[in-house]
């Protein structure tokens, strides 16, 4: 796992909460900083990809590990 500046555990939360919480956390971060998000909602894989494409924040990493989904998003 690469370095990150902040972590958001969205485990147990369902659509659209992981995206909304991520958006809120990113808003409090500086440009260039990286947010690590942990989610259990399988729909979040496609959703974070779409979120990154539409908001311009870069999705650095998206992977599954031990039944959880991990995302690294770099704030634009």
């Amino acid at each position: 796992m690469a370095d990150f500046d902040q972590e958001l555990d969205a485990s147990g939360l369902n659509c659209p909460l992981p995206i909304l919480r991520a958006k809120k956390t990113l808003a409090s971060m500086e440009s260039g900083q990286v947010l690590h998000i942990i989610a259990t909602d399988p729909g979040s894989v496609k959703d974070f990809d779409a979120f990154a494409k539409q908001t311009g924040n870069e999705l650095l990493e998206s992977r599954e590990e031990g039944g959880k989904f991990h995302f690294l998003i770099k704030k634009a």
């Binding site: 147990g12 939360l13 369902n14 659509c15 659209p16 909460l17 995206i19 909304l20 958006k23 259990t40 909602d41 979120f51 539409q54 908001t55 311009g56």
Partner: protein
């Protein structure tokens, strides 16, 4: 990148149908859409300070019923007193267990994200509703005002 716009008309006042407008509006706002929801007829229930939304199995063959209840009590059983309240309680319990946000929470997230909530003045008057029953920040307008925004929207949904 030019700002995108989403216009939604919310016409339904049941617990299940309260979800699509608030989920889509809050998500769109997170994606940078300028978003408005126009609440009309039963959709006005979604703007009440104290929400008392229920879900009904009546006339809803697509609703999954626990314990095969629909087999034991077809149609007429669904009309029994207390059935709607029980189904609502069960639905809320399941949603909580599955990590689905409450309508109150999603509505609050919409407000935080500057989603504009507009109540249809005509139906507010029709149902003798008072502005004091609604949450703060609601605007009141008519069809022409909706088109002013919707006419320039990228996505327009009728729910």
């Amino acid at each position: 990148m030019e700002e995108k716009k989403l216009a939604i008309i919310a016409t339904k006042g049941s617990l299940d149908w309260a979800y699509p407008p608030f989920i889509l509006a809050s998500t769109a706002a997170a994606l940078g859409y300028n978003t408005q929801i126009f609440f009309t007829f039963y959709g006005l229930q979604l703007l009440k300070k104290k929400l008392s939304l229920e879900v009904t199995p009546l006339g809803n063959p697509g609703m999954p019923m626990p314990l095969g209840m629909d087999k034991w009590f077809p149609v007429l059983g669904m009309a029994l007193p207390g059935m709607q309240r029980m189904m609502t309680a069960m639905m809320k319990q399941t949603m909580k267990k599955k990590g689905v946000a409450s309508i109150e929470e999603l509505r609050e997230l919409c407000i935080e994200a500057d989603v504009k909530l507009i109540a249809c003045q005509m139906t507010v008057d029709l149902f003798d509703m008072e502005a004091s029953e609604f949450i703060d920040g609601v605007e009141y307008a008519g069809a022409a005002a909706f088109f002013e925004f919707a006419g320039e929207s990228d996505i327009c949904l009728y729910i």
